[in-house]
């Protein structure tokens, strides 16, 4: 062991405290860096939102074209009714059997209720619905509804968080630059004292 004098200990303490002071300022800067990251992420989100708006417009235009074609097709007189109905009567039992096998094997719960529901569904459906891919159209419309709802919910929540963050980041803490020297006491009472916080000072009086 080598002896260390009190003077040396004091000098080491002085140096160590300078480093700690620097690290305190780094910690403050760390908060600001995270703030910058949040703001950058928010900018990226806004760009993504613009992309979503454009994509939504395109999707809805095509969906409208699809529905338009569907309506026009439905308006045609049913020239194939007999052929389709005959095929449908043969299609239904196969479809029911295939579906129930799948359900029992994969989905498992509540097969009895599903079977009755399926019977009713098939009896009420028409082959024309198949022929125009009505199930795919309905699936798309449902997806569209879900997607709109999802975006609305995300937008609503994020805008609330965003307004809170805007207010937070406008605070002086995030806009004020810390001093650079040792003994600047970024938060301490002396010697640097933010005057607006300490009205006892002569400056404020």
């Amino acid at each position: 062991d080598q002896a260390v004098s009190d003077n040396e200990l004091q000098e080491m303490s002085n140096q160590g405290s300078k480093y700690i002071n620097k690290e305190i300022q780094n910690a403050v800067n760390g908060v600001k860096q995270i703030k910058n990251l949040i703001e950058r992420t928010n900018e990226e989100r806004k760009i993504l939102l613009n992309n979503l708006e454009e994509a939504k417009k395109k999707k809805e235009d095509v969906l409208n074209e699809t529905r338009d074609s569907e309506m026009k097709l439905k308006a045609f007189p049913g020239v194939c009714n007999e052929t389709m109905m005959a095929l449908w009567e043969e299609c239904k039992p196969c479809l029911k059997q295939t579906c129930m096998k799948f359900y029992a094997r994969v989905c498992r719960s509540g097969s009895g209720l599903v079977g009755r529901q399926l019977e009713e569904f098939l009896n009420q459906s028409s082959p024309f619905y198949f022929w125009i891919n009505g199930d795919r159209i309905d699936s798309l419309l449902e997806d569209d509804r879900q997607q709109s709802h999802m975006l609305d919910v995300m937008q609503d929540r994020f805008s609330r968080a965003s307004s809170i963050m805007d207010e937070l980041f406008q605070d002086r803490f995030f806009t004020h630059e810390p001093q650079d020297s040792f003994r600047s006491f970024p938060f301490g009472l002396t010697p640097w004292r933010p005057h607006f916080l300490f009205p006892k000072s002569r400056f404020v009086r």
Binding site: S13, E70, C91, T98, W131, F185
Partner: protein, 221 residues
Amino acid sequence: SLMPFSPYEPPSFQDMFQPFFDMIHQAQQAMDVHFHSPAFQHPQMDLIREGDDDRTVCREIRHNSTGCLRMKDQCEKCREILSVDCSASDPSQAQLRQELNDSLQLAELLTKRYNDLLHSYQRKMLNTSSLLEQLNEQFSWVSQLANLTQGEDQYYLRVTTVASHTSDSDAPSGVTEVVVKLFDSDPITVTVPVEVSRKNPKFMETVAEKALQEYRKKSRE
């Protein structure tokens, strides 16, 4: 507001920092509630994930039996319905059906792309949520440091003992053990390789860095 309520009293630590914590927590809650909301937990959300996923099909079947229609390709007579040609009396019907199928295919593609964009958007929000958590933690550390530096002591770090242990030629390098007190802590012991001389600025830099890490780790615990 961080202004003191009374103009004649200095602000307390709580007055200064609590509003920040409150706002960060409010922002986190606004985001977290969103991700736990029914909109994200609703089973039908899975409808907009990859098409013929078994779970999606099961859900569709339970909901209104439409999931069964996905299996129409497995039945010959059902397939034949799709190929029925009704354009004998009116050729424009065939063209219209083709237009329908083309736009349907395009709509499905665009829906999938939109879905991908939505998931990217959701990921951005998750990133923000995670950053808010980091902000909370970092700010918590800053406020702790602020509280610790309120005192009059000019030394944040005090070195109490230094002991160098040199090694034998056959043993690994020795270390210098330094015991410090950081702010209000109990004594913290850190080691520095003996190759780094006490006179080297790197020595105290290493001591301070390790002591601060140890202090922060203990604070978290």
